[in-house]
Symmetry: D2
Subunit: 355 residues, 4 copies
Amino acid sequence: MSDFSIGEKFKVTLFGQSHGPAIGCVMEGFPAGQKINWDFITAFMARRAPGQNAWSTPRKEADQPEVLSGLNADGLTCGAPLTAVIRNSNTRSGDYNVLKGIPRPGHADYTARVKYGDAWDGRGGGQFSARLTAPLCFAGALAKLYLEDKGIRIAAHIARIGNVEDARPDTVNPTLPFYENGAFPVISPEQGEAMKREIEAARSQGDSVGGAVECFITGLPAGLGGPYFGGLEGKLSQALFGIPAVKGLHFGDTQTYGSENNDAYCIQNGAVRTLTNHCGGILGGITNGMPVYFTVDFKPTPSIAMPQRSVHLKTMQETELTVQGRHDPCVVPRAVSVVEAAAAIILLDLILQGA
Amino acid sequence: MSDFSIGEKFKVTLFGQSHGPAIGCVMEGFPAGQKINWDFITAFMARRAPGQNAWSTPRKEADQPEVLSGLNADGLTCGAPLTAVIRNSNTRSGDYNVLKGIPRPGHADYTARVKYGDAWDGRGGGQFSARLTAPLCFAGALAKLYLEDKGIRIAAHIARIGNVEDARPDTVNPTLPFYENGAFPVISPEQGEAMKREIEAARSQGDSVGGAVECFITGLPAGLGGPYFGGLEGKLSQALFGIPAVKGLHFGDTQTYGSENNDAYCIQNGAVRTLTNHCGGILGGITNGMPVYFTVDFKPTPSIAMPQRSVHLKTMQETELTVQGRHDPCVVPRAVSVVEAAAAIILLDLILQGA
Amino acid sequence: MSDFSIGEKFKVTLFGQSHGPAIGCVMEGFPAGQKINWDFITAFMARRAPGQNAWSTPRKEADQPEVLSGLNADGLTCGAPLTAVIRNSNTRSGDYNVLKGIPRPGHADYTARVKYGDAWDGRGGGQFSARLTAPLCFAGALAKLYLEDKGIRIAAHIARIGNVEDARPDTVNPTLPFYENGAFPVISPEQGEAMKREIEAARSQGDSVGGAVECFITGLPAGLGGPYFGGLEGKLSQALFGIPAVKGLHFGDTQTYGSENNDAYCIQNGAVRTLTNHCGGILGGITNGMPVYFTVDFKPTPSIAMPQRSVHLKTMQETELTVQGRHDPCVVPRAVSVVEAAAAIILLDLILQGA
Amino acid sequence: MSDFSIGEKFKVTLFGQSHGPAIGCVMEGFPAGQKINWDFITAFMARRAPGQNAWSTPRKEADQPEVLSGLNADGLTCGAPLTAVIRNSNTRSGDYNVLKGIPRPGHADYTARVKYGDAWDGRGGGQFSARLTAPLCFAGALAKLYLEDKGIRIAAHIARIGNVEDARPDTVNPTLPFYENGAFPVISPEQGEAMKREIEAARSQGDSVGGAVECFITGLPAGLGGPYFGGLEGKLSQALFGIPAVKGLHFGDTQTYGSENNDAYCIQNGAVRTLTNHCGGILGGITNGMPVYFTVDFKPTPSIAMPQRSVHLKTMQETELTVQGRHDPCVVPRAVSVVEAAAAIILLDLILQGA
């Protein structure tokens, strides 16, 4: 029933509000005896951090996590819950003062107030803020590192910005990762440039634009997941729909007719494989040993510079508001690593469960 | 960690295999003192039942549930776990004998064998069979009945068969239900006829065809759900991806740009409403009091009459197989009530939790 | 939040009411490919069954479970949820008619009515009835069988009836099982005779008597359990306090002073052992490889033949009632196998979790 | 499956190691809009703090929690997870250096090493340390405060030190709290003095002594809890056995014979009550509206000044060790508030669940 916990044997609990003293996470069940590769974690978290380029908000965050527990004197994981804290700073709380009592369309302002009442800490979106994806990425980085040691790779790319789509990867033998060429991970550089123009166009009009992230996972053993509610799709979906602004999710690339959608089996190097991979590596909720992949749809960020119609919740009068502050015109580029992090957490959990 | 349980305070556990003695479910936490409306349940379950028309398998099932516990001597729910059992019959196990050791493409045959070993009861797909959606519909019917008494309506329609799409409903003030006009619930009768032709075309070629179901829920209070992993999208997704053949899920009808996707607030009859409903009634994972709606994508049923390439798992030789038996050329029409059932179970659970 | 489910990876859900059509259980997560030893199960369940001797109720039950799912055509577990149903019969519902609206002291009659309202099926205690320990024993028998194959033995004895105590077993090297000498498992035959006299004395006066069951588990690996709320004591306690009439639980035989309670370590056959075993094989919530043992206290059965003071819940008048029917004057002898079953379920769950 | 989380709707997750940077807790589901009474919390936590008198370790801890999230700008709970951190200091890690590789009898040193390997941070007991009961008390204080506003009081006293027992409270109409007379909460001052002598006697011999805490809860509504594994005894037991050094638990004061153990019903002021309260306010796992009470047994603290036999885990040789440092000769006085905290957390969870 917890809103901020995900996973069972490997469990991650997020905490914090956007403008409170700190955000962070507690990780339970991470295996003991692991060395923390801080370079890897810093690089992974930097992919999500804002303020690094033209496509994202100029707000800068240090986002250096402090580890409060879970490491021994030698810096190895020790089996205790691993807690990391990121102090909030540079929050410019004045940006949102105007919003008191006037919910921003597309944000959680109204629904949060219904659920929590007037005590809700709405500054910067409170606990709904995408800022909590920073500790999610910290936890995901550790999970990813552990999985990579087992030969399991997770890599996502920007599949779509507005109506501009990236090139399709090879779904049977994808070349991972997609993001080594820079901070804007795409397969086709040309399409990447067109996407950036799409973002710039939205920004110049004070608008925002949505898109999609596609994520691949290779090296998974066959047999992971289960029938019905234990299916890998369902397990991943709970984590992925937890990411702010996610509204859709699709596994594989389903074809219209069974004759083209069914993936024929073959034997390759003595192992069972499929010739195509429309099912996205999952049959009956269980991995078949082929690459797992899925696409996550993000809505356009609701923070836009244009005036919008809203209401005064206290006076119940209609009104107009303009959202202040600087915001990403598109969350998709920064969300690529968040999708990887969420997938890594779920997969590590399942692997530790032996499920 | 359970594959066959869904929900927390209202929890449904499915059991059974396609060709075992029986299938059924245990429902925990259903409120005591409720009268069971058997006409409603029978009618609801009949919508899922096979063999009733040209678009579904001619296999007939009685599917009359026997209640083993949970009712008192007067037939009211008594607070004890409510257990319903449906005996299997008319199973023609010979249909699948040929499949021993040769996995059918697109089915769980291979992945189930990896997970459970040779003891897996593969007849009819075992516990992966869509037949277990019958007890799911039984549980969903009870949940739906309870919710309707609270003014909450759940109704789905066939949104797409192959490339033929139904008309779009009004997402702000939808007219529910969609299915009173017959067993093929669509908004546009013309599009419905085109869909039937699409199914018939697939069948005549020994092929199958996929599609989509769209589900609406009206009457929900604002404030249901939560941030991050407690979001209503994530809760529903776990149940919906548990339905066999589901590969995709999308909430609302996300628009490309923030300026068109944000739903402006207004006051109507003294209540906060939105002028449009692109967010599908959910903001920050929490209901805003507008209709909730989502679309569920179903892959084409993998059982097709054409010869397909597969492998012998024992000899590890490639081979060809032809799936015997009679199968639905399209699961979507029968899946409409299954989607409603899954949604009803999750919503009742959240409402009983006060979440 | 489920009242009738226990375990996580291996999960058992009980269902049924005392006088409904049937009771039973669903077992999820039991390993596939296991042969069911029906002789073992029948013998184990017979130890709990009533009506077999002078110390228990003359009410006879067939208690033959029918398996509805979870076995393949060869009778091996197949990985699907394993469901067993026991039909109710010989229920003599007239016995309790007098009790309508007048709660029996010591039973759940009053509290159940507060929780479930008038629809509660109070016949025979409804879902509170100890009759649901029959399917618990079925599940426990399967778990016990699986554990014994791994060298893990679980055996309990009657530790106390009233004020008559059994002899103390060797807690470092106990000789298991205790019950091969008959249906009244004790270590000291003399004390066993004194216990039977205690039960007979209570019965002859229309009274009942409480007692205790002590349970030993040998062959457990060191390292099972965890700190704080993951401790083995807490895991076992949730199952053991779920058994009707249990009011107390103690692990090991705690001594007054640290100098006598601490178990000194030694090396035996190259392995770490302790010279004494006051901690009951658990330190910091984790097994240390020594025998685990604990004592479960049962209150005297509340069904006694003497007149008792109670109230009319409808008229809110005080009144007197006499409980009709035949009842165990002492539940302890039949509870010995129930304690073993509950322990077996929890231990199998932990072992499958790798915890 | 989490070792450090307890509760469902109100969930508390502990974190930290004894000698790591910090310990703390995350509380999910605490109601929004509550004012934090810091005086109450400080006073409650002070009851657990060490170093305040002759019966406890002279080690002083500031134990001032810093709140990182969960409060709004006005200091009210805002609905976000409430995170509190207590920095570690005054840890004198040299005390335990000698213990590397030589497990202290009665502690978790050996079992932790089996479970976590050599990376386990054994300084001060790592995550097994009773120091983590400080954040548990912080969470418990908030829960207690909330419950007291609803008229629910929780109060415990020292029931036994060694063989010295406190006087018995009135179990039908207990006078709460027991602890207003000082830091050593007992009902009988004379027995309290005898208990202190017992502790002093153990200390003077370099020994330790065990005891018991009895806890009462008044003002609970009837109907809280459930049958079988949903019983209040089982819910409380999981939290209480999570407290370090707890080995036993008993609800009510069970009498030998049914005729004396059954609590007769009566009508008082128009309400159903019982004349006696041997069942401890719980029947069939559900509260009956009478005071709930239970006794928790604590083993003597394993840290004693006498030489003890142990083993070198690396060389697998037997050896002798002497535990350095200053330790409580008896944990019971400080554990009184910890028992109250654990009970408060579980009860708040159940009440928020509406269970």
